[in-house]
Each structure stands twice: as structure tokens, then as C-alpha cells.
Symmetry: C2
Subunit: 362 residues, 2 copies
């Protein structure tokens, strides 16, 4: 019988992460940003992008591929644009800094766009879009990805990462709308869940090496060839492919980050990653009288939640609803951490010579 | 046997449209913009959004739902934002004007965003994104839609139009990248083609009135309940649903246009439409040295076109390729117009007391 999943209070998780990043030598301001993003991500139930990434981050840091105390600096700036060099550290802090600058500039000028390069994994795209919504602005957040997994329509080789798009907007009576989606049909984690449950996957989630749809979940998990949103060509996978390309253009070409398939040619001697992020912030009062945007969005959100469901037991949801339900539950009852993840974090603590503080229940 | 499809030279089509819009009393500058968009759309092979819309536009004009000579004016303006009131005319002219303002502001400031309200159908979203690319900028173009056809995940009633997203970017050696996609899985026209060819449609293109997938093309065409990109819930249709909502928020809530499901409550006595468009323009030189963005994009486009295809006879395409092939063919050989469409345009000419000039072959 598998050991039970432990519930860890958010505060204890923060303490564990602080111990590790302090051992790395990460400056306190940077560590606070990374911890804020990671713990909030786990509270929202986006388990693939929170503390579960720590073992990988720590390995990359030990391999010299992630800089623990990077010099994150603005290298270009104008009234409504800025470009940040992330100095090859984790992506969270430069992303928080980038979106903060976008918010400040948008409040002064109506809208703004900020790019980041020389970065790494930044957690969930939605976190940064929600920063803008919390400030009363529309926020958009994009990132490219260091490993290619998504196979363009008609091809049989992966040419993009899961290149996510996030979009958040503040409402009035309602909590903010927040779309946070990979531009692949599903994430690789879904293959693993299907495989562990001995279930086939629907044709259109993943491809074999010849470009044909796979239904064997184990093979799909091992092959790691995802489809663009849409799935199959006849289901308009060229649209997901195009959205992934759009994200790559904003995050790599526009910031000076690398496009994975041309990296070997462009920077043959560089062992670091150079991932890019891109952010927009828009002030609704540049277009509407104060309150009108939020009240019209309330009207849409109410209409969607009230739309007749196909199954009366499954009401229509709005983007952001499932994460808010998780946040309420996990803030009260702790963040579920499976035994295997606890073991991995215990290893990270040991390797960094810091205490492991996640023992025992909440 | 069906009558053959006639090829009409673009110039002759321009003349026909000019006769009709002149009879409407449309100011010449406005007519030129509408004609530019419509004919370019047909040249690019986007047959659903070019001259085939004329009969509907003319009916709406006769019903008093489209103003022939609207007062299109900027009602809010700041250095990087503007909002235009389209005065209830066709959407093409205010969209051209809106994107032109965005381009001008982005060239001066690095980026800009412009909204339009009180508008109507504006043709293909991609036209306006390509205006920015032609000026050396990244362009994005969005519109909401007057008739709801897309059923959100879990629901059985339509809550959005096909709310398109277009994104164009200038390359160096290569022609521009141009994604132009509805956020539904497919357009209604695909059901019609399947039905006329007596073929079933794949599950996930359309729903029945209970929210179940339809495979009968005729029933799907008549029911007109489209799925969001993704198709079925297990294929991540919530992502297409979220993209449609994003487009609605930018185009309706941010501009003051109407969201169709709440229109009756918001503007019960108004018989006009109030559609919104939204445009971004971004100058790559706000982020990169001149030429670097374009050359990096060339690298990506070359890599994609060179990516190994699943079927050697079907090379991997980049967004914009099929439309360019159509443009070359149709510029040389004329725009194919089926007999039924020619009949409809003949009726429009008759109703407007102008000559029908599309008789005979190219």
C-alpha cells in the first residue's frame, strides 16, 4: 500500500524553500519572489509548476546551468517598454520584476510590454498575469521552454515547447478571470496519470515517432511527442501550432532568447539556457470610464456561470475557478505532497546541508 | 451539371464593389478601405470573409443595421492608446484606421493598443495584423462577433462567436508569419462542405442541442453549435473556450462593445450591432537591435519549413503560406467565384441600381 499523501502547511513549505535558496546563496529579495511564486502555485493546485520543480532546479544549479545569485538588470527601457537580462537565474524573480515594471508603466501610460531573456523556468504563466489583475489591470504572460516536445502539424519532430499563454482580467463583484494554458493539447503529466491507471489515451494527445497518433499511454509518456492544441490535423491542430509559434516569436525572437532548434547553430559553446518571457499590462481606464470594464466583465462571468450545463451536476466553469477552490482548500488544510516528492525534497535538503522541515502532518 | 466557377480579375471585382458602395453613399476614403480589405481577402483565398459577405452587408444596410456613411472618430486618445467609435458602419474602415493609429503610435513609442466599438463585421482578422508586419512591426488583431455559435466546455448553449485571433510578424528573407484563426475548432462552412459531399464530420467539430458531439454534417450545419478549439472536453476544449473569452474581454469589455448574451439587458432598445475590435502593434527595435528580430525569425521559419514531415509529400507549412500561394495564383488568374455567388452579387447590383460587371470570364 502506498504511503499516504501528506498535507504540508504553506508556511512550512516557505521555510523549507527559504533554507534551500539561502544555502544556494540567493539574495533575499530574489528568494522571496521565487518562494512567493512556488508556494502560491502549489496553493492553487498547479502541482506540476510549484515545489515539484525544486529537485530539477537544484540539479541544474549544481550542474552550473542555473545561476543562484544572478545580476538581473534592465538593459533597454522606454516609457512603455523594457527588456530585462535575467542573468541565467531562475525565471521567477525576473518575471516578477518584469511584470512589476509593466504594471507601473501601464498605470502611467495605459499599456506596456516587457521582455526578459537569459532566463529559465518561471513557474506558471498565470501567476504574472494575475499580478496585473490584482493591480486592476489586464495582464498577459508568455514564456518559451527549454525542451521541445510539441510536433507541428504535418511534422514528426518536436519544434516547440509547451509555450503557455496566460491572460488575466480584473472583474468587479467576481474574482479575476484567469486563463493559463499550454499551447499543446495536454501536458506530459496526463500521459503518466493514464499510464499509472492503465488507461489508453485518446488519439490526438500524443504522436509516435512517425507522426501517427498514439493511444498507448506508456509509449506516449516515453516518446514525449505532444500535439499542438487541436490534436489532429482534422481537428485544427494547425491553430495550436500557430499559437505556439506566436509565443515563441514574442518570447525568443523579440527578447533575444534562443529558439531551441536553432540554438546549436546560434550559440554552440553555451551550456546555459536562454529562455525568454514576455508580458503585457493594459489599464482598462485608458479605454473605459472607471468601473465600466469590471462591471461588463461581471456580466460576462455571471452569464457563463449561469449558462445551461449539458450535465446539471457539472456547472459551467470560468477560467480561474478550479484554482481558487484549490487555494481555499489548501490554505486551510495544507498542500498535499506525495511521499515520492517529499523524498526528493529531503534529498535536496541533504545535498544543500540544510534541515528537512516537511516531516510530520499539518 | 453545375455551371463552372468563373475567375474574376481583382480589378473587375474592385469596380463592382466601388459601384455598390458608391450607390450606398459611402465616402470614397471609406469605400477604398473596405474594397482593399475585401479584394485582398479573396486574393488570399479566405473566401468566407471577402466578397461573399457583400450580400449580407447589403441586406443589413437596407435593414438599417449598418450605416453606409458613418462618422468614424477617435473618442479617447493618449500616446500609446486610442479608442474609436465606428459609428455603426462596416468594420473594415475603422479597423484600418485603428491599426494605422496603432502602427504610428508604436513606431513613436515601441508599442500601442487601439480599440474600436460600435462596429460591424471587419472581414479577416489577419488583414490588420499584416498591415503592421508590412510596416516592420508585430501586429495582433481580434474581434468579437455578432452571433453566438461556440458552446463553452460543459455547456449546451452558445456563448461566444468564433472570436478570431490574428498575429503577424515581419521576417527578413522570408515573407511575414501570419496566424489568423477562429477560436472555434472549425468554421461553420466546413459542416456545409462535408454535408454537400455526403461525408460525416469528426466528433468534436459540432454539438447537438444536448451538448453531445454530432457526426451528421447536415444536422451540424443546421444546429450551428460549434466547439471551442480542442473540440471535446478530454481534448482540452476549455483552452479554446478560454481563448474565445480572452478575445471577448479585449473586444467587448475593454472597448465598450456588447457581449451578445447580455445585450438584451444592456441595450434593450438598440437594433444596431455594437461589435468591438482590438489591435496591438509592437516595434521590434524597442527590444532588439535593427534586423536581429527579423533574422532570428528567419531562423525559426527556415527550421519549421525544413522540419521532417510525417508524409514526404506534405511538407511542414508556416502560417501564411497557403494564403500566399492563393494570392499568387489569383493575382495571375483571377478570383474564382461560384455561380451562386455571382447570382447573389447580381441581385445586390440590381437592388442598388448599379451595373453588374462580373459577367464573362477573365
Amino acid at each position: 500500500m502506498a504511503a499516504p499523501t501528506t498535507r504540508i502547511p504553506a508556511e512550512r513549505l516557505r521555510r523549507q524553500l527559504a533554507l534551500v535558496f539561502d544555502a544556494w546563496g540567493m539574495p533575499e529579495e530574489q528568494a522571496r519572489a521565487v518562494i512567493d511564486v512556488m508556494v502560491e502555485t502549489d496553493l492553487r493546485g498547479v502541482d506540476s509548476h510549484g515545489v515539484s520543480m525544486l529537485p530539477l532546479y537544484d540539479r541544474l544549479r549544481r550542474e552550473g546551468k542555473v545561476v543562484a545569485a544572478p545580476d538581473v538588470k534592465v538593459v533597454r527601457e522606454a516609457p512603455v517598454t523594457a527588456l530585462l537580462d535575467a542573468g541565467h537565474g531562475l525565471g521567477h524573480y525576473p518575471a516578477v520584476k518584469g511584470m512589476s515594471i509593466a504594471i507601473e508603466k501601464a498605470k502611467a501610460n495605459g499599456m506596456a510590454a516587457v521582455g526578459v531573456f537569459n532566463s529559465n523556468h518561471y513557474g506558471p504563466a498565470g501567476y504574472y498575469a494575475l499580478m496585473a489583475a490584482a493591480a486592476g489591470l489586464i495582464g498577459m504572460s508568455f514564456t518559451n521552454v527549454w525542451n521541445s516536445a510539441v510536433v507541428p502539424t504535418r511534422s514528426k519532430v518536436p519544434m516547440f515547447g509547451t509555450n503557455p499563454i496566460a491572460f488575466a482580467a480584473p472583474a468587479g463583484r467576481n474574482p479575476p478571470f484567469c486563463l493559463d494554458m499550454a499551447t499543446s493539447t495536454v501536458a506530459i503529466g496526463k500521459m503518466r496519470v493514464a499510464y499509472l491507471n492503465e488507461k489508453p489515451i485518446p488519439p490526438g494527445w500524443a504522436m509516435d515517432a512517425d507522426g501517427n497518433p498514439l493511444t498507448d499511454a506508456k509509449a506516449a509518456f516515453e516518446t514525449r511527442l505532444l500535439t499542438p492544441l487541436g490534436g489532429l490535423a482534422e481537428m485544427s491542430s494547425h491553430k495550436g501550432y500557430g499559437l505556439g509559434a506566436m509565443v515563441e516569436i514574442l518570447c525568443a525572437m523579440l527578447t533575444g532568447a534562443w529558439y531551441a532548434p536553432t540554438k546549436a547553430k546560434k550559440a554552440p559553446d553555451q551550456s546555459m539556457f536562454n529562455i525568454g518571457h514576455f508580458f503585457f499590462a493594459i489599464d482598462p481606464t485608458a479605454f473605459r470610464d472607471p468601473g465600466d470594464f469590471e462591471s461588463d466583465l461581471d456580466g460576462m462571468l455571471d452569464a457563463l456561470r449561469g449558462a445551461e450545463p449539458a450535465d446539471p451536476d457539472k456547472p459551467v466553469l470560468v477560467h480561474g475557478d478550479p484554482e481558487r477552490a484549490n487555494h481555499a482548500d489548501r490554505s486551510a488544510n495544507g498542500i498535499p505532497m506525495p511521499p515520492a516528492l517529499l523524498d526528493e525534497v529531503r534529498d535536496v535538503a541533504r545535498l544543500n546541508n540544510v534541515a528537512f522541515v516537511l516531516d510530520g502532518n499539518a
